[in-house]
C-alpha cells in the first residue's frame, strides 16, 4: 500500500479498529489471505507470513456489536484453529470484544465454549499467542487466557465482569483500567505476559514470539563467543544483584524477550536465542525478595517450563537461590501446592534442560530449580558456588545450638564463623557436591556458555506430549 494511493479524506474513514487493518498491521508487508467471509460475523481470519514463515491470525471486529462473539464469529475462530493445526503453524488472536453476543442468547455461549475447546485441543501442539488491543470481557477474557502467551496493548482491558456489574454487586466503584488494565494484569494477576505502550509494539512483540516459537533455528556452536559471565556478579557473595545483565550476556545479543516481567519478579523467565537457536531462560533474581522462591514465582516458572517442554524449547536454568520465602502469607497462599507445580513441571520435562548454579542453591529451592534429582540433563556449578541444605552459619546455629548458647554474646559471632568454616570443610563445598553427583561439573564463568551450548548440541531434541494448561 502506498500513501499516495489513498486521498487523505478516505484514509480518515478507515476505522483504526478495523480487523482487516489490524491483520495487515500484524502480517509481513500487510499481506494476508482471508479464509473466512468478510461480513458482519464479528471475526476475520487471515493466513499470511511472519518473518517469512506461515502463520494464522484472527481478529475480532469491534465495529460490529462491539466485537461481541456470536455463533458464526466463533466458528470462524475454530476455523482459524483448524487451519493452524492442519498446517502446524502458530495462531495469533487479536482481541477487542465485549464477550458473547447477547442477541444470540445461549447459542453464543455454546459457541464461545467451542472456541475454548478448540484452544484446549491445540494447547501444547501449536503456539497460541493473543494480542489484546481493546476491552476483552467475559468470554473474550477467557479466550486469551487459555493461550500460551498474552500481550496487552495500551488500551487492552481484560476482565470477567465490567465496572457496572461490579458496582451493582459489590458496590466497588472501579474503572476498566484498574479492573483489567496493564497495571493489574502486568503486576498482580499474571494474566498478561507482556504489556506494551503502543499497538505497534504489541504487534512487534507478537511477531517476535511467533518467530521464537515457530522458527526456532538450529544451534551454531561456532557462533558462540566466550563471555566472562562472572563480570555480572557483585564482589560480595552476600550482595543481591539484578540478574538481567547476566541473562543478556548469556543469550545472543539483544534476543531476550522477558515474560511476566513485573509479576513475581523474583524469578525471571523468557525466550531468547543461543547460537541462533531458541532457548528458554529461567533465573532467580536476587534483587527482588533476595531471589527467594515463593508461591507466585514457582507458579510462573512452572507454566513457563511446561510451555517450553511442549514446544521443544531447551531450557537454561540460572540458579542463585537462598530458599523459599518464609511466612504465614506464603503458607496460606499455598506455597506448598503452587511450589509443587514447579517440582512437577521439571520432573516431567523432557527437553534438554541445563542448570548452572552461579552462587548458591539452598534447601527445597535447590531441589526445585532443575536439580539433578529432578532429571536435569546436566548441572554445572561455578567454582565458588555453594549447594547445601542451608547456609553454613544457619546450619551450625542448629547443629551447635547448645554449645553456642554457652558462649558469651560478645564472642558468639567469632565462634559462629569458626564453626561455619569447619562445617564447610566437613560438608565439602562444591567438590563434595560433584562427588555426590548432585553437580556434574564445575565450570568457569567464562567457559559456561560454550559448555551449556555443547550439552544442548549433544542432547537429542524431543518435546513433551502434553497441553499447556494456564497454571
Amino acid at each position: 500500500m502506498t500513501a499516495t494511493a489513498t486521498p487523505p479524506e478516505q484514509e480518515a474513514q478507515i476505522d483504526p479498529r478495523s480487523p482487516k487493518l489490524r491483520l495487515a498491521q500484524f502480517f509481513d508487508g500487510g499481506n494476508f489471505e482471508l479464509i473466512t467471509p468478510d461480513d458482519d460475523r464479528g471475526v476475520l481470519v487471515g493466513v499470511g507470513k511472519v518473518a517469512g514463515a506461515p502463520c494464522v491470525a484472527f481478529a475480532t471486529d469491534p465495529t460490529v456489536q462491539g466485537g461481541a462473539m456470536g455463533n458464526d464469529g466463533c466458528r470462524a475462530i475454530v476455523t482459524a484453529y483448524d487451519r493452524a493445526f492442519a498446517d502446524s503453524v502458530p495462531v495469533v488472536g487479536i482481541w477487542h470484544s465485549g464477550g458473547a453476543r447477547l442477541r444470540e442468547g445461549v447459542l453464543s455461549l455454546d459457541a464461545v465454549g467451542r472456541v475454548f475447546a478448540a484452544m484446549t485441543r491445540a494447547s501444547g501442539k501449536v503456539p497460541q499467542i493473543s494480542v489484546v488491543l481493546g476491552p476483552a470481557a467475559g468470554g473474550a477474557a477467557y479466550g486469551p487466557a487459555l493461550t500460551d502467551l498474552v500481550i496487552l496493548g495500551p488500551k487492552g482491558r481484560i476482565f470477567v465482569t465490567g465496572p457496572e456489574v461490579v458496582k451493582s454487586v459489590t458496590g466497588e466503584a472501579v474503572d476498566m483500567d484498574i479492573l483489567g488494565g496493564p497495571e493489574p494484569h502486568g503486576r498482580r494477576s499474571g494474566v498478561v505476559h507482556i504489556t506494551t505502550d503502543t499497538d505497534e509494539a504489541a504487534y512487534a512483540e507478537a511477531r517476535t514470539l511467533v518467530c521464537l516459537l515457530g522458527q526456532q533455528g538450529s544451534l551454531q556452536l561456532d557462533s558462540i563467543a566466550d563471555t566472562d559471565l562472572g563480570q555480572f556478579m557483585p564482589d560480595s557473595s552476600r550482595r543481591a544483584y539484578d540478574v538481567h545483565p547476566l541473562i543478556d550476556g548469556f543469550v545472543d545479543e539483544g534476543t531476550f524477550t522477558e515474560l511476566h516481567a513485573k509479576w513475581a519478579p523474583n524469578i525471571v523467565v523468557g525466550l531468547g536465542r543461543l547460537g541462533g537457536r531458541t532457548v528458554g531462560i529461567i533465573a532467580n533474581n536476587p534483587l527482588r525478595l533476595g531471589g527467594c522462591l515463593d508461591s507466585a514465582s514457582a507458579e510462573k516458572a512452572s507454566r513457563f517450563v511446561r510451555m517450553c517442554d511442549a514446544f521443544a524449547v531447551p531450557l537454561i536454568v540460572l540458579v542463585d537461590v537462598p530458599g523459599y520465602l518464609p511466612g504465614l502469607g506464603q503458607e496460606w497462599e499455598g506455597v506448598v501446592r503452587r511450589g509443587a507445580k514447579l517440582l512437577h513441571a521439571f520432573a516431567e520435562c523432557v527437553v534438554p534442560r541445563v542448570t548452572v548454579v552461579t552462587r548458591k542453591a539452598y534447601g527445597g529451592a535447590y531441589v526445585a530449580m532443575n536439580s539433578a534429582s529432578l532429571g536435569a540433563t546436566k548441572v554445572f556449578a561455578w567454582p565458588d558456588a555453594e549447594v547445601a541444605v542451608m547456609g553454613a552459619v544457619a546450619a551450625i546455629r542448629i547443629l551447635h545450638r547448645k554449645r553456642l548458647a554457652e558462649v558469651p554474646p560478645e564472642s558468639r559471632e567469632q565462634v559462629e564463623l569458626e564453626l561455619a568454616a569447619e562445617h564447610e570443610v566437613i560438608s565439602g563445598g562444591i567438590k563434595r557436591a560433584v562427588e555426590m553427583g548432585v553437580v556434574d561439573e564445575v565450570v568457569e564463568p567464562i567457559a559456561t556458555k560454550r559448555a551449556v551450548a555443547q550439552i544442548l548440541w549433544d542432547t537429542p531434541g524431543v518435546r513433551g506430549q502434553h497441553g499447556n494448561i494456564p497454571l
Binding site: R239, L287, P322
Partner: protein, 71 residues
C-alpha cells in the same frame, strides 16, 4: 509525582545510602535491606529528590513498610 519505596519482605535495615534532599537517578541505591542472609539493595524507580527517609539502620521492617519517598 512522589513515589514511595517500600519493603518487599520482612528485613532489617542494613544501611541508608542517601540523605534527604539528595538528587538521585533512576536505579540509584536508596536503602540496603538485609534478609535471608543477603544484602538487598532497594533502588529508586524514578529519578528525583529524596523527600524523606522513614527508617534507620538496624530497624526491622515488615512487608509493605515505607522506606523512603522520592519526588
Amino acid at each position: 509525582m512522589a513515589h514511595t519505596l517500600s519493603a518487599e519482605m520482612v528485613a532489617s535495615v542494613h544501611s541508608i545510602e542517601v540523605s534527604a534532599g539528595q538528587r538521585v537517578d533512576p536505579g540509584a541505591v536508596i536503602v540496603v535491606l538485609e534478609s535471608m542472609k543477603m544484602e538487598i539493595p532497594v533502588l529508586a524507580e524514578t529519578g528525583g529528590t529524596v523527600l524523606d527517609i522513614f527508617v534507620a539502620a538496624g530497624d526491622v521492617v515488615r512487608e509493605g513498610d515505607a522506606l523512603a519517598s522520592i519526588g
